[in-house]
Chain length 331, copies 2
């Protein structure tokens, strides 16, 4: 098994990317293919002891930056680490590709270079979010800003496969993010999507889920368009940071509260661990004919490592073929 | 000044509605017009001592329930407390109307009965949300599920008036909720809205605001369609409840953590007060030719009272004429 890693992508490249690869090499059975400027990569690699037989470098001369226009960048920067990495997936020279770079470009490249699975109208970027009961897959969180009901219907199927195969949920429940519980609530997109989901016997549809009920974790898969998914994901991040910031401020207020913190340290740690879970890997672009994983732009060692191991898990579980088979069935 | 209150609306009618009116009577100079079943209202009123010259009852025989289809209910239940209350506003027999009932019906009734201000394409339901710096007005949070760019542009103006007149922000900053900071990010709605806001010299537009930055409070007015606004509002509620629930659980874990809570009680109280602010009143339906305020369906005494006082403030500040004047200017 070979997994390619975009060594030039994200805010902390190549240092943290290489560091994450070195960490992953300690457990993974896969060979890692580092894509990027050979000299920079070697300089970083030389800092560590590692099994040299499990590392390859594919030299590239260009980089896609966070400010590049996605489609234009994919088309013009043919020798960028991202385009080369995606081509390695397409040609099946590697089994998966991990990238911390420009999300829009990776999504465009995933579709333009790797290509969509037959029957899938749009690939989606799902993210696992923490809930009271564990984790719920929020799909889509970034790929399709103006979705159609049929896209969301397909995301439900893709999400069900993900939760079954990788989270061990035998019969995943699907909910639709909406502004009210009743069928007639919502915008045009959700009203139509509701009908598609309700009428599909292969979907265990639990109906609309209001945003206030997301943390209850009643659905294993929550379907929404990428605008809404992105807003939820980022608001959770910003709101959580604010609340923990206020807590920190109050705990630091005086001697009494500092003592209080010492007594509650473990409990605060447990709560924080629910939200800061860099060991949970990245977000896969699902619906394309290969394994492409996006990590945060600011990902460091731990997240790069966990995303590489996640890619390995997807390969071992034969994810792409399972999605392909589902869309052949539903035709 | 007269303010009508729908005594039959919401989960706690008429008990808590009447209780809230009694509380408001202690400070308000307005006469309160309780709309609903006379006998039930009198039974509740009889429990209290109050200035009987400041209370009127308008008897009605019907109720619009939470399950009624909005437009149909407004059209068919002519003698419902909601329809009668809205007609009192229309005929200028009262200066404002407070209602805890079916949101969709109140929105429909606001437009169908009270009518939109000339130049306003759609009325909006804004809500003040807490931020690090105070409060930001999120507009729209419930009225227009499928918005057009021109609606959002108008919401910016309505929101600016609100923040200037009622929150004392002299030159309110307007942001657009979006999935990225750059102009080209977003869906069709936000891309077009961005242009309208940027090109309007009367709007102090600070650009796109990602959901993770909402708590930073950099914008005084945050514009979005009602689906997104509703998701943010409800997710904040659900997520906040969860986090505080986890804190409570951890504080109750053992003797050590119980002691910790005692030492941090004030600090936790301060944090909670940021989020649970029932004294902040309800959400006004802005853009119609009268003052119509929606409170939570589960509103109790305190919220009913604060919403009545809020309505009084709107009347005193001549809100409707200020919005009307703005839309005459911008023509």
């Amino acid at each position: 098994m070979k997994i390619a890693v975009d060594a030039m992508s994200g805010d902390n490249a190549p240092e943290e990317i290489v560091k994450g690869c070195i960490k992953a090499l300690k457990t993974t059975t896969a060979t890692l293919v580092l894509v990027g400027d050979e000299k920079s990569i070697k300089t970083e690699l030389d800092k560590y002891d590692y099994d040299k037989t499990k590392v390859e470098i594919v030299h590239t001369t260009e980089e896609i930056t966070m400010n590049d226009a996605p489609v234009a960048a994919i088309r013009s920067k043919k020798d960028s680490s991202m385009v080369v990495g995606l081509n390695l997936v397409k040609k099946k020279e590697v089994d998966g590709f991990v990238c911390a770079g420009n999300t829009g470009a990776l999504l465009a490249g995933g579709t333009l270079i790797v290509g969509r699975i037959k029957g899938v109208e749009r690939a989606a970027l799902p993210v696992l979010i923490p809930t009271k009961r564990g984790y719920t897959l929020l799909i889509d969180c970034g790929a399709n800003m103006d979705s159609k009901p049929s896209y969301l219907h397909q995301f439900a199927h893709i999400g069900m496969i993900y939760m079954k195969e990788f989270m061990g949920v035998q019969s995943p429940k699907v909910g639709l993010i909406n502004v009210g519980a009743e069928e007639e609530k919502g915008n045009e997109l959700t009203k139509e999507t509701f009908k598609l989901l309700r009428n599909d016997k292969k979907v265990r549809f639990i109906g609309n889920v209001e945003a206030r009920d997301i943390p209850n974790g009643k659905a294993d898969v929550l379907v929404c368009d990428a605008f809404v998914g992105n807003v939820i994901l980022k608001f959770m991040e910003g709101f959580g940071t604010w609340v923990f910031g206020m807590l920190k401020f109050e705990f630091k207020r005086n001697l009494k509260t500092k003592l209080s913190y010492l007594l509650m340290k473990d409990g605060i740690g447990r709560i924080k661990n629910k939200f800061y879970y860099e060991d949970k890997g990245g977000a896969p672009l699902l619906g394309v004919k290969g394994i492409v994983l996006k990590t945060h732009g600011n990902a460091k060692e731990a997240e790069i490592c966990s995303t590489i191991l996640q890619a390995q898990g997807f390969v071992e579980n034969d994810l792409i073929n399972k999605i392909t088979a589902r869309f052949e069935q539903t035709k």
